[in-house]
Symmetry: C2
Subunit: 321 residues, 2 copies
Amino acid sequence: MIDATFTAPIEDRIGLVEERMRAQADGHHAAVGAALHHLLSSGGKRIRVIVTLLTGKMLGADPDKLITLAAAIESLHTATLVHDDLIDGAMIRRGIPTLNAQWSPAATVLTGDFIFSKAAKLAAETGSVEVMQIFAETLAMIVNGEITQLFSSKWVANREDYYRRIYAKTASLFEASTTTAAILSNANGHVTTAVKKFGYEIGMAFQIIDDILDFTSEQTTMGKPVASDLRQGLITLPVLYYLENHPNDLDMKNILASSFCDENCLGRLLISIRESGAIKLSLDEAHQSVQRGLDALRKLPDSSERKALEDLASYIVDREI
Amino acid sequence: MIDATFTAPIEDRIGLVEERMRAQADGHHAAVGAALHHLLSSGGKRIRVIVTLLTGKMLGADPDKLITLAAAIESLHTATLVHDDLIDGAMIRRGIPTLNAQWSPAATVLTGDFIFSKAAKLAAETGSVEVMQIFAETLAMIVNGEITQLFSSKWVANREDYYRRIYAKTASLFEASTTTAAILSNANGHVTTAVKKFGYEIGMAFQIIDDILDFTSEQTTMGKPVASDLRQGLITLPVLYYLENHPNDLDMKNILASSFCDENCLGRLLISIRESGAIKLSLDEAHQSVQRGLDALRKLPDSSERKALEDLASYIVDREI
């Protein structure tokens, strides 16, 4: 969880969201409770919870329904992570062993399914059919994105593909967080459009920063190898900018022609990208995205929650860089 | 699909449900469409679709919403089968290769997730929060049942455990089918209670018959080895009855003490169970269950749909025995 000023307006509610999530294991097999406890104790910034709570409080949502909604959003996120880690064979997330590092694939698949079911149950408990629809569509978007990634050829250097991918993977759920919080608040169309735009833009920025950190961090910080995306043949924004400005880089030419890059090639590329202006250009783009989000948000009246959302947006682009 | 008289009142709608399900792949990656096509073309009796359509038509549900509901129910069922087959490592279902027999575990997990998301979307499209809640609770019930089975010690001969297990696995979704169809029809409490009971009882009977067929069928009919439950250490109703009437059977004594039964032991048990009265006793129990369901159903006014549901209930206990 983040210890920052922008959580102040909803500090007391974050714990309640966590309680609501833990309570989902009640009445079910003890293994489910153990898994949920492990997942909820594995860190995580609860950034989607914070975005949902701040947006809903700003717009006057019923506090209890808002907590239910935030628990639904975070549960959906958690369930997708459980299946993601299984699929990627990831053994560590945020420095803590993943569920699949300790459990069988069968138990991991079922735990993810269980958390999906509880996410759907929580979403239904908000009492809004519209929330349910957005919720289901967002899950379809996330999963379709993963399927597309799984079945697509690797090493594709295409900016459109990249934006589509990070929207499906990350921004769609940020957008759903702010949009559903507005719906629960019975906000009018203009307000909903503004917070939807804000959610979209900070979500895009969030993933661009993650993709930058994959190049700039050391292994210990991220809990995964540096340039892990590139190792998997996944071309992210820093690589796209590097390629645009170094169209004749031999390693990149080889990669795009042969879809192959060994450790030496990876090592050279990592240094080249870090030393080029590609990181700065990517960071600028994340800042522009956040700025567009802030422009949309500032159409709404000033409030302590709006101020907190602005601070949160700044945090997203400034974290750990 | 079943070719029987009881589908007559809703014959035209079954195809529409299938169309609605296939349309869920529209706008998504082609692999999703291929997977959905494979799954929907792999046979399956669509018995939950028929139960939902008949109940809803009997009670006057809006035809379009009813088709959406039936598509949601069948999608939920399909998604759980996809993950089940992956977990069990099943290569064949209904004589046709499973998805995981052809695809990677990653693709299979994600396809199941995708179908879950579309099931939730379809349920939300019915416009009923109550339908959504029952839907999410049923999914939680099914998954919790599978987790319980995965983490429980095998070879437990306990009737209560057995009933709990088959309720979670099968009867809960039959119950949800009739209950949500009643809710969509704005049926009153008495009517909803009656069809809920009917759904529960035919669901329990359906699974008991499945468990009987596991002993009485030959491999070719079921597409899996005879006594496959017993091979997995899963004790079903025929074994429970056999045990009650043959408390001194040496093989069973050994099994319960050592949780082990080799091919010789399995072969002897299979013959003993087939030749005992256990199959008949189990069948009687399925018939009693259906009778209780019919008693509940017959509290409602006579109609061609009610008659079809009665015929369907008889079909459930008489199929392939």
